[in-house]
Symmetry: C2
């Protein structure tokens, strides 16, 4: 392994054009039809062949991650900010989860894909966990340190739990935010 610079070789201009067209098209199609929309639809919207989609994004999860990467990063950052700005660690947790829920409920089908056991989505699951678990851990730890959060909940429980509560069709009898609020209340440290 000599000469391993890790620098990606410059790609052809059309390849870069197509990738960006695909990202735009996928974002639009995901909004309209959810993250499980047919690959052909995305290819058509981008004006490319299906082969091109697969060349740039081998799995659907790669495409989904690419489309939402910015927002996931922003969500991660929002966690740090909440911790600095909020009145208390628990309040910070609440605010951050609010951001996370907002993100999930506005992306049709994303919460379901995140929790899916379809191997196609494993990369997606892994990416979200990689990026958000440390943030969740920090918030939880701060809460525990302040005596506001019970010490037997893990960041996985938090993220996967909230994700699970966000899954499913809209239904005016089910208020996701309220339910998530109940879940968070369950994480409060019991009064001594």
């Amino acid at each position: 392994m000599t000469d391993e610079t890790g620098r990606a070789p410059r790609r052809r201009a059309d390849a870069r054009r197509n990738e960006s067209a695909l990202l735009d098209a996928a974002a639009a199609v995901f909004v309209a039809s959810g993250v499980e929309a047919p690959v052909r639809d995305i290819a058509a919207k981008a004006g490319v062949g299906v082969g091109t989609v697969y060349r740039h994004f081998p799995t659907r999860a790669d495409l989904v991650v690419a489309v939402y990467r910015h927002q996931v990063e922003a969500c991660a950052v929002a966690g740090e900010e909440a911790l600095e700005r909020a009145d208390s660690p628990f309040e910070a947790l609440r605010r951050w989860i609010d951001v996370f829920v907002d993100f999930l409920v506005t992306k049709h089908g994303l919460a379901g894909a995140l929790q899916s056991d379809d191997p196609q989505f494993q990369v997606l699951h892994a990416y979200f966990l990689d990026r958000l678990l440390p943030v969740g851990t920090r918030l939880l730890e701060a809460g525990v340190a302040a005596g506001e959060v019970r010490d037997d909940v893990t960041a996985i429980e938090l993220m996967r739990g909230v994700g699970g509560l966000c899954i499913g069709p809209a239904d005016d009898r089910y208020d996701v935010r309220h339910t998530v609020g109940v879940f968070l209340d369950g994480m409060r440290a019991p009064a001594r």
Copy 2:
């Protein structure tokens, strides 16, 4: 509408045989491959053609409901029993949810199907809600009356929330029961 007795006309013997073979086959295939297993697999296991599957169970949800009807009934009954037998309404709620979670986590893919927005599963969703919502409501109301459960949670939140928490692949970092326990703790009435 003359002569409306509501009694189903007796069906042919082969039809009854096939239906029961299908139920057995579906149960086995659901265990092995989950509730989204290909219709052809079920037909093959039952030794019938795919047309026969559709004739008896027009949608996948119909088949799923038929396979699990007994257990759903049992779960509904368990709610009433818990209320009679447990030391307190909250304890009854906890026990009943335990039964419900047991049921869900042992049926591969069922929780996901329940929450799915695929119209194919609407009947399934509706059946579970029809059967279990009243039970949840009763348990919740008893808890509220006893001052043990907060009065702003609905049975839909309870069922759909717990369902959501049960979705997803097994992962030894995620303990469904513990997470559901946290959720239930969130439903406790706050100390006055």
